[in-house]
Amino acid sequence: MKYLDEFRDGERARGIAARIRQEVEPNRRYALMEFCGGHTHAICRYGIEDLLPDNVRLIHGPGCPVCVLPSGRLQAAIDLVERERVILCSYGDLLRVPGAQGDTLLKARARGAELRMVYSINDALDLARAQPDRQMVFFAIGFETTTPPTAVAIRQARREGLGNFSVYCNHVLTPPALRALLATQPATGVVDGFIGPAHVSTIIGSQPYAFVATDHHRPLVIAGFEPLDVLQAISMLIRQINAGRAEVENEYTRAVSAEGNRKAQRLMAEVFALRSTFEWRGLGWLPDSALAIRPEFAEWDAENRFAIPPIQATDHKACACGEVLRGIKHPEDCKVFGTACTPDHPLGSCMVSAEGACAAYYHYGRFRQAAAS
């Protein structure tokens, strides 16, 4: 595949890995957090940890949209589809995430709830147009990457006067999550540097991460989701750490600029407003960390149309997703990893999505745990 294969080239990977091995200082520890699940997936899928020296450790961050959705918001969606008999359109991953008491949208479907797995919010708009007598609700989740398409769809629904379409908005923002992570870290903390978001940064640019360097003195390198991007970013972080620098650098220059995508930012600002606070699985309630649909578009806001009540659900008590999402625990440190919690029977959200750290470890790296035991 042109434009992709060159970022998966094994020869080049071995070249960068050799450079990393030369440059690391043997008595130093390099704990690097990749914020995004897309990076976690690439790391596990390509076995990148096998190419790194032992003192370079990768810690997996909270950037997996499915993983950080709190079970209460998910349970509210299950209740909505069963109570109001709406058709809920969702991305596939969400169907298996446990809500309250381990209930899932897939189980709800087996009980008779109507769900449609869609690839894009446009599919949900099409379904609404095709079935004007049915209420179609799109379950919107994701960071800044998936937010502009949701904004476009809501504007389109208003333009067409589509009265049977609405959005259950769960869009969250990346910088507040990074801020929360850093706030809970000691000054010379667990994480020495960050591999910054890929797709998110194409929208918001590199400027919003400046506080990581200025306020918290950690380097951050924005990197694409291809495995060579990740290796190159690791190499850049190691150079910064060795030189005592803490800067925001951009490895993903082919897609990310300092100011980001202004048009997408304007669209988001037109349709969405900041929620004063929002619950994140693992990180708790974070101020100004999520988006709500503006009152001008309230007609297409499912929370307004169906008066969805807030639900406070507690996660399974043995599940360590919270600590895994904050980088405090490694997936394999969780007591139920691979035993009570597996991709077939997930107790926590990190075991569901391909971008979740637990699922990535289970699918791609379980042989390491077996070798160690």
Binding site: L4, R8, G10, G37, Y46, G47, D93, Y119, E355, H363
Partner: protein, 349 residues
């Protein structure tokens, strides 16, 4: 022309007609459907006998039997349809024991209202696939369910065949040191169906690889009678087939990612949807496991057959109590190739 034809006042309307409940009711309408549609397509001496069963002599050897139900949606897809698929699927299951398939039985569950023109197209595709394979459909059954209680047509086929003397092929026979061979590029059936089903608007030049593999198997068995395992990686793809064999044989596997053939359009569409070709269904490919010293001979025999032109040695069997299927990635790292969990889902971010 059959003298029975006279009892039907009018012929079946194969242009505008639909399946009706009476077509499964056991009366004249059912007899007419069988006569004018099924018999016309499958015509052979066993069906002409019009018994509820087929009687045939069996050559000496070990009898092999397999059955497979087909519920594919959409019914017609680039490179095939549910008809030829239902023939190939069962022939291949029989062939994976190293056997020569001899006879097929087929059973149809039809939904009321299903267009007879579509049914005829499907049945003729089945008949053509069976003729090409040299394996007749010798008996069958038809049921009709009410509208809304089926998905157009479901087809179950059962096949019998005979395995030659001295050939013992089973998924429980893989041994450490054995070589793992794959007959060709992965993922073509699954992605052809998905591109059609999900209405993705892709103009992807991907055709299903649906094909009968028994002649390829015959050539392989002739070249290397000591093949240990054969498996067609259908649902769940290569990854699931290898995990099944690893579990049944109590061994592990080591694959080399760079050796596994995947064609460009499949790779691109999988990439776009966030799917892994190792988990996508194939309907015309097989995996073979044989002693390492016979691997090159087997590879040459596979490449000599049109359905094995792109065959490759993709890895080896190792001793591993965990039964892990591991792969050396193109990067030189290692990863597990795990069982599929649930169904493959496209990613969000």
């Amino acid at each position: 022309m059959s003298p029975r034809r006279e009892i039907f006042a009018r012929g079946l309307d194969l242009t505008h007609g639909c399946v009706e409940m009476s077509h499964g009711g056991g009366g004249r309408a059912m007899a007419q459907l069988i006569e004018e549609l099924f018999l016309a397509a499958f015509d052979n001496e066993w069906l002409r006998a019009r018994d509820d069963c087929a009687q045939f002599a069996v050559p000496a050897g070990r009898l092999v039997m397999a059955t497979d139900s087909h519920v594919v949606s959409p019914l017609f897809f680039p490179g095939g349809d549910i008809g030829c698929l239902s023939v190939h699927g069962t022939l291949n299951d029989v062939a994976m024991a190293g056997a020569r398939p001899l006879y097929l039985a087929s059973s149809f569950i039809l939904e009321e209202g299903f267009p007879l023109a579509d049914l005829q197209r499907i049945v003729e595709s089945m008949a053509q696939a069976a003729r090409r394979a040299g394996v007749p459909v010798v008996t069958g059954d038809t049921k009709v369910v009410e509208r809304g209680k089926g998905d157009g047509v479901f087809i179950t086929t059962t096949g019998v065949g005979v395995a030659p003397e001295g050939v013992t092929i089973s998924a429980s026979r893989a041994q450490p040191g054995d070589a793992i061979l794959l007959s060709g590029a992965l993922g073509e059936h699954g992605m052809a169906v998905l591109a059609q089903r999900e209405n993705l608007g892709f103009d992807a030049p991907i055709q299903s690889d649906t094909a009968a593999l028994h002649e390829l198997v015959a050539a392989m068995v002739a070249a290397v009678p000591g093949i240990h395992c054969l498996r067609d990686p259908t649902r769940g793809g290569l990854a699931s087939a290898l995990n099944e064999i690893a579990q049944q044989s109590g061994v592990g596997m080591r694959l080399r990612e760079s050796a596994i053939p995947v064609r460009e359009p499949v790779r691109a569409l999988c990439e776009f949807l966030g799917l892994d070709p190792l988990y996508v269904a194939n309907e015309g490919k097989l995996l073979a496991i044989c002693p390492a010293e016979a691997a090159e001979t087997l590879l040459a025999a596979m490449r000599d057959h049109p359905l094995g032109r792109e065959a490759a040695i993709i890895g080896e069997v190792v001793a591993d109590d965990h039964g892990f299927v591991e792969m050396e990635t193109v990067f030189g790292g290692r990863r597990l190739v795990d069982w599929l969990s649930g169904e493959q889902l496209p990613r969000i971010c």
